[in-house]
Amino acid sequence: MTKTTLNRLMSRAVWGCALLLIAAAPGARAGEDDAVRHVEEDPYALLGLGEEAAVSPGVDPAFLVLPRATERSTMPDQLLTPLTEEMIEEMLTYLSNRQDPDGGWSDTQFESNAGVTALVCLALMAEGSRPRIGRFGRQIDLGMEFLLNHVEDSGVIAARGRYQYGPMYSHIYSMLAMLYAYGDMPWRGETQDVLARGIQAVQRSQKLDGGWRYQFSREGASDMSVTGNVLWVLRTAKKCGFTVDSEAIAKGVEYIQQCALPDGTFRYRVWGLEASPSLGGTGIIALVNDGRLDHPLIMPARDRIEYDYRRYTVEDLKERRFFVYGAWYASIAMYMSGDDYWIPWFEKTRSVLRAMQRSDGEVADEFDNTVYTTAMAAMLLQTPYGFLPLYER
């Protein structure tokens, strides 16, 4: 990946992540703690309040659940139209065919890249496959082998085609894919150790300002995009039985809140530029994973994404730079926000992806990268199946 490309890519992510930092009011956290304590005293109290009420059982706010659905959802049938299924099939076939002999995946700018491989594995897992089980069980298995074969002594997972500014994105996407897979691949018992070392590597590289950036180093300033993604992975690791330093997470969340401006916009870095609303999903994910479903930042960020996709035409969105990358983050956030937001957003995004899709089923970004983009698009489109734990409600 060229420097310019990466800068643009990261800029997009940063714009989105910065959106999360809106209105991090000092009193908000105290109020939430009260709510959590209240639920602990009477777990029924919030459940009676309807769908908006969430319960965070246990002592860790990361494990947040919404009340049970009171009726069968019709959303999957509504969204998984024959067209959607055809698009998904073409994308999965394309991804499957593009696997390298060593089990990894390469892209135009990212040859034999761990991050790309992890994203493709996630896309294939979204179909319902698991390592060695399911239609793409073999591909996922080989992909996981590829990732395990590229674990450095430091615990960092990064393959040959690493990003020139640093391997953090490769590492966190690889961690994410392996966290979701390792319970289903008992033949690689060392995976747990790899993940534990990977978590330690991330924690060791937390910068003094509380965030993270491309390099595994405590020096320098953080950015919100990487920080949001790292927090996302750390929360997932907690759910998988790994001990994560709660202080590290608290500092990371605090860093994201520091990026918020008084007018409600976000900055890529504490001193940086405002972020694009289309990538605001990362912030929503980070805050929700932190057990803050009712955080005051979430609503405006969600509405900004909704407005953005509603306002612009399919042609406008199609021409937008790194559209698929932003849409993938946005999809997780919009799915969390409920069907009123999710369904129209999905339908619009599907139209854009359809317009972008090429004859072999792939979608591309401005630099003709087709694998990571297709993986993200496939993940997004398969969300209504509900098979990937990445998408939670």
Binding site: Y44, G58, A69, P76, R130, R132, G134, W187, E392
Partner: protein, 827 residues
């Protein structure tokens, strides 16, 4: 009595005969005494006296001969036409739009009341007025109302010319007591009213019978002649009349209403559990009948209030807790709506379809006509309950990711997770966080259900397994979820005795997970026959809906190998690809229950309903396993009553379905009774015996007639015959139904056009519906009424002897003879 006519009385003639004999004897005696004096009379005097006597005797003989003369009288009478107007309650329902008879009335009234709708009764009144106008020139009219009985309202005077005024509606529809007739009769005896009219007018020439009604017969008694039978009688009667060369009796009909029910939306029935848990999803199935139009969009609201006397006043008032936009197809719709109860105690729920809801402009009516049937109420007892569940898993698999939130979402479940592979200082998930697994039997007994999800057998001790075993045998539940990480063979090898006893299936201890194998072909699954009946596999209480849900049950790629199910266990699910491996099974261990699943991909059922069916499956499983702890008894029985809303004295059927076939053996030979009591008066109990099912069946059945009013509870609590105490029942299930007086008139608001048509055709009459009630239609009907006058010839017999002169002459002759004899000194 006319004294003259007494003579023709047969009894009096006997009396006269007796008198005549007495007179004869008396005269013989008198004449014997007078014989000596009679010699002093002259011959003329003697002949005069005998002349008198002879005339008297002649008159007496004449009277006995009864002479009479005859003459005939001929007169012409107008035929009688009976107009029968239905005054039953259904005639007060709105008349169809487009009825020309009431257009003026509606137009006028709607100026002040836009929602005004003329009734069938008003239409019938105008129709009667028009008929009287046309028929009173050549008919003698009788206007009757009929409902529960036939009453004459008016006999309008025959009009000689058009100049004469016609009676008003007030004149025609005034009852004998002076009040105006209204459509309020609770029953409608259509056929019987025709029968009574024919009887009442049997001496008259009947021109026609005109019946104005919706032809819905309601509330007939056994002696009544129903309309179909009356139709046949008339057909036969007319055939005979025509054979005799006489005019038949035509019955003309004017049908009020339409063949379609009125555009009404009503809630017929609400199905809800008797009890629910605080914070749990409480689901109602609402049966809504849409007689409005297909695709009608409206809202179904659910309101909640407490009926506990000590509840705060604000909770004793209805608060809306759920609102659902629904699109109703024409006919019967079953709509689920749910809420999460937030208060304990007896709560009343009102389900309502707003009668003033948003109605598109294009439909015929402003709103469904009847809003009293737009709501229903049910009472549910909300209780605070909880099940302590311990989930032990080795690694966080895909299933684990989805299973944990599913259990945490259930407010009844107090979950403790223990991830065996977790870091040593890891804070485990759950409502109640634990650091280590329970060790002693006492610690295990605190849990109601344990889930062993592909656990690492090396990380659970024998004493812990003993504690688990004790917990299950004491009524707890245990769930085995197989997985690829460790497999069950290892578990059996390490804890052979206990685990083998607990499992409802046989596992080969030598078959370990094959990590090298790839599973790339999906296989389908099917429910076994016993599985279909099992409560765990009931995604819905409604059979059709349940089947529909299971049709979309996913296929799988991997399952744990199973040798065979144990003989006393119940297999619920098996492979459908010929392999027939049992995939899910349940068994009883001690007082507890064990559930086994050989698949660890139930998360594939997150499509197509998202979390709904997936979560509910696990929750059903947990509650099934913990039901002994939760309810104090098993609940693998389903109690249903049919219908759920009844009229007093209507028959109610009770069905007790035993879902767990292992329970049937415990019930064999045992009498099963249903207790039926009013929710307001639980002490007044009726016992209804339920008949056992035939061999191989699982459904008990009983029936009884509903009594009382309001919400009635039906409960079946079965205690084992060998139980030491009645505290612990085999099962204890309840359901409820509602007894309420449903106005029969509103059960079906459609007119019985077919009955009217049959009656009309059988008699050769004319039928008018609301579409053809214009003036020309009435003219045509009037022309059909036979105007021919009837000639009545009366034969009058004049009894000559039975007259006053005859009597006077008789008395004069006797008195004259006596007077002469006195005068001539014979006495």
């Amino acid at each position: 009595m006319n004294p003259v006519r007494m003579l023709s009385n047969p009894n009096f003639q006997v009396f006269l005969a007796v008198v005549a004999v007495a007179l004869f004897i008396f005269y013989r005696f008198v004449y014997g005494r007078e014989r000596q004096h009679a010699r002093e009379l002259t011959g003329t005097q003697t002949w005069v006296l005998w002349g008198f006597r002879g005339f008297v005797a002649l008159l007496a003989l004449l009277a006995l001969a009864r002479p009479a003369t005859q003459r005939t009288r001929v007169e012409e009478r107008l035929p009688v036409t009976a107009i029968l107007v239905d005054s039953s309650g259904s005639m007060s329902l709105p008349t169809p739009r487009g009825n020309p008879l009431v257009e003026d009335i509606e137009r006028e009234m709607q100026q002040t009341n836009p929602g005004f709708r003329a009734t069938r009764w008003q239409s019938a009144q105008v129709a009667t007025e028009k008929l009287v106008d046309r028929l009173s020139l050549h008919q003698r009219l009788r206007v009757y109302e009929f409902g529960d009985q036939l009453d004459l309202m008016a006999a309008p005077r025959h009009r000689e010319s058009l100049d004469e005024p016609i009676p008003t509606i007030d004149d025609l529809f005034r009852r004998a007591d002076g009040s105006m007739a209204t459509a309020d009769a609770p029953v409608s005896r259509t056929g019987q009213s025709i029968h009574e009219v024919l009887e009442g007018l049997s001496g008259e020439k009947i021109g026609s019978i005109i019946m104005i009604s919706d032809f819905r017969e309601i509330g007939l008694v056994s002696t009544d002649v129903p309309l179909p039978r009356m139709t046949e009688r008339l057909r036969e009667m007319n055939r005979q009349l025509e054979a005799e060369g006489k005019a038949p009796i035509r019955v003309h009909t004017i049908v009020e209403g339409t063949e379609h029910p009125l555009p009404d939306i009503r809630i017929d029935e609400v199905s809800a559990p008797m009890e629910a848990s605080l914070g749990d999803v409480l689901q109602f199935h609402v049966t809504v009948t849409n007689d409005y139009r297909d695709g009608f969009e409206t809202r179904l609201s659910l309101e909640e209030k407490s009926v506990e006397p000590d509840a705060p006043s604000r909770k004793q008032e209805y608060q809306r807790v759920a609102l659902r936009e629904v699109t109703l197809s024409r006919g019967r719709n079953v709509i689920p709506i749910a809420t999460i109860p937030a208060m304990t105690g007896r709560c009343r729920y009102r389900l309502q379809i707003p009668s003033d809801g948003p109605v598109p402009d294009e439909i015929d009516y402003h709103a469904p006509f009847e809003d009293q049937n737009n709501w229903r109420e049910v009472t549910v007892d909300i209780q605070r309950r909880s099940l302590r569940v311990l989930l032990i898993a080795d690694r966080p698999t895909r299933e684990y990711f989805f299973l944990v939130p599913a259990l945490l979402r259930d407010p009844i479940v107090r979950l403790s997770c223990y991830l065996q592979s977790a870091d040593i200082d890891y804070i485990h998930q759950g409502n109640e966080v634990i650091d280590v697994l329970p060790e002693t039997t006492e610690e295990w007994s605190r849990y109601d259900v344990a889930i062993l999800y592909d656990i690492d057998p090396a990380k659970i001790s024998s004493s812990q397994v003993d504690g688990l075993d004790a917990m299950v045998r004491d009524g707890g539940g245990l769930m085995f979820i197989a997985g690829r990480n460790n497999g069950l063979a290892d578990l059996i090898q390490v804890h052979a005795t206990r685990i083998r006893e607990l499992l409802p299936i046989e596992i080969d201890r030598n078959v370990h997970p094959n990590y090298d194998r790839r599973y790339e072909r999906a296989f389908g699954v099917r429910r076994t026959d016993r599985g279909r009946q099992h409560s765990l596999m009931q995604a819905s209480t409604m059979h059709d809906e349940n089947e529909k849900v299971w049709e979309r049950f996913p296929s799988f790629y991997w399952n744990a190998p199973v040798v065979r199910p144990k003989s006393d266990s119940v297999v619920l699910l098996e492979r459908a690809d010929g392999n027939n491996d049992p995939l899910m099974a349940v068994g009883i261990v001690g007082e507890g229950t064990v559930f086994f699943t050989a698949v660890d991909s139930m998360w594939r059922w997150r499509y197509p309903y998202e979390t709904y069916e997936y979560d509910r499956f696990w929750i059903r499983a947990i509650r099934y396993l913990g039901e002994v702890r939760l309810h104090g008894a098993r609940t693998q029985v389903s109690l249903e009553v049919e219908p759920r809303t009844v009229n007093p004295r209507q028959e109610v059927n009770v069905y007790l379905q035993v879902l767990d076939s292992t329970m049937m053996s415990a019930l064999r030979g045992e009498p099963v009774y249903a207790r039926v009591y009013s929710s307001d008066n639980p002490r007044d109990v009726r016992m209804v015996r339920l008949s056992p099912p035939p061999e191989g069946g699982t459904e008990y059945h009983g029936s009884f007639r509903a009594e009382g009013r309001g919400e009635i509870t039906c409960q079946v609590r079965q205690v084992p015959s060998d139980a030491d105490t009645r505290e612990r029942a085999l099962f204890d299930v309840s359901t409820h139904f509602e007894v309420r007086v449903e106005p029969l008139q509103l059960l079906n608001t459609a007119a019985n056009v077919d009955a009217a048509r049959a009656l009309t055709e059988a008699t050769g009459g004319e039928m008018l519906t609301y579409r053809d009630l214009r003036d020309e239609d009435f003219d045509r009907l009037a022309e059909q009424v036979d105007p021919t006058k009837r000639q009545i010839v009366t034969a009058i017999t004049f009894q000559i002897w039975d007259t006053l002169p005859f009597l006077v002459l008789f008395l004069v002759l006797i008195c004259g003879e006596w007077s002469l004899r006195k005068w001539w000194g014979l006495l």
